[in-house]
Assembly symmetry: C2
Amino acid sequence: MATVTTQNLIIETAIKLFNEHGTKAVSTNRIADVCSISRGLLHYHFKNKEDIIQTIFSRIDQEMDNDWYDDHKHPNIKYARFMFERQIELILRYSFFYRELYPLLRKDEKLKTHFRLSRKKRETEVRSFFDELIRAGLMVQPKAPASLDSLLRISWLISDQWLLHLELTGVEADATSIREGFSLIYQGFEPFFTPEALAEYQASLTVSG
Amino acid sequence: MATVTTQNLIIETAIKLFNEHGTKAVSTNRIADVCSISRGLLHYHFKNKEDIIQTIFSRIDQEMDNDWYDDHKHPNIKYARFMFERQIELILRYSFFYRELYPLLRKDEKLKTHFRLSRKKRETEVRSFFDELIRAGLMVQPKAPASLDSLLRISWLISDQWLLHLELTGVEADATSIREGFSLIYQGFEPFFTPEALAEYQASLTVSG
């Protein structure tokens, strides 16, 4: 097998096993066994489990880099919903990472540094999107007790935790329950959307649900 | 040592070690060693680590039972802030549990069942508090796009995750950053508080910060 193919196989297999069993229960030896490669070959590519998890996060970050960079070019409410659902789908693909987020970052300084840098980038991108909404006259600057910062912070909390919250309360993650997460974010922003933006959004819902 | 004293010593020690190192890194043997008791004596009291964690959660649940049962008798905004801060203090005392919440519940059905039952009780109690606020004329029934249910759901997400969110973003958990968590919850409810309730709240802030 070519090197890149082997690396990919290891990463794909690790994601699958971690999602199913959690990182604690899955050893690098088990990953090698499921890949049908020798343990030595796995360790040629990845020093240890932390190394594998760091590589998986680099992939997550790369996916977000690819997807998010021009979000601000689509300033409308329907696109905001798309952004939320895209993020939920990403979290579903890498569910182990978000489920174990705090313990993972806590025990790996390198991962924590990378995560925080990535989050700063993401925050800037989301903020640009809302700045554009305001510039386009589709939203007014939120006023006290809310602020754009506080609304965005709540949005992050909900996006990060929504699937876990569903799991915790025993609700299945389906289209309806996922959309409810967006509606929680939406209700904070709604008072600041202009009638024009709301009319456009309502029309888009009638067309495509 | 009397049985209850030994059990307490084990539980107190486990909480301290789990908070410092996470549950994964702390074995029952280490807990016994730090307690200066034999491993046999520990296992006489607790079958395994899961058993210890279940007992710790029973203690958390008991603390909430003791604290929350008459919250609805104090329907005012300042008391709502107290309720939030009390919950944050509890999460600080048992930080490992909330940090590892999802992995812990995922691998222990008994703990998950207990947690969900406890949460249902808590949700009922918090709802009673807000029903009393409305009955006392200090709050009006939230209207679309918000609802009392959705505001409470956001409150739970923020309460559960606020300390972890601070940790994630590298902000120290002090009085100021903790109070910011409450202000995020507050901003959702604020449009539905009556002028009377807001005036009373503002006055209470002037008196005691």
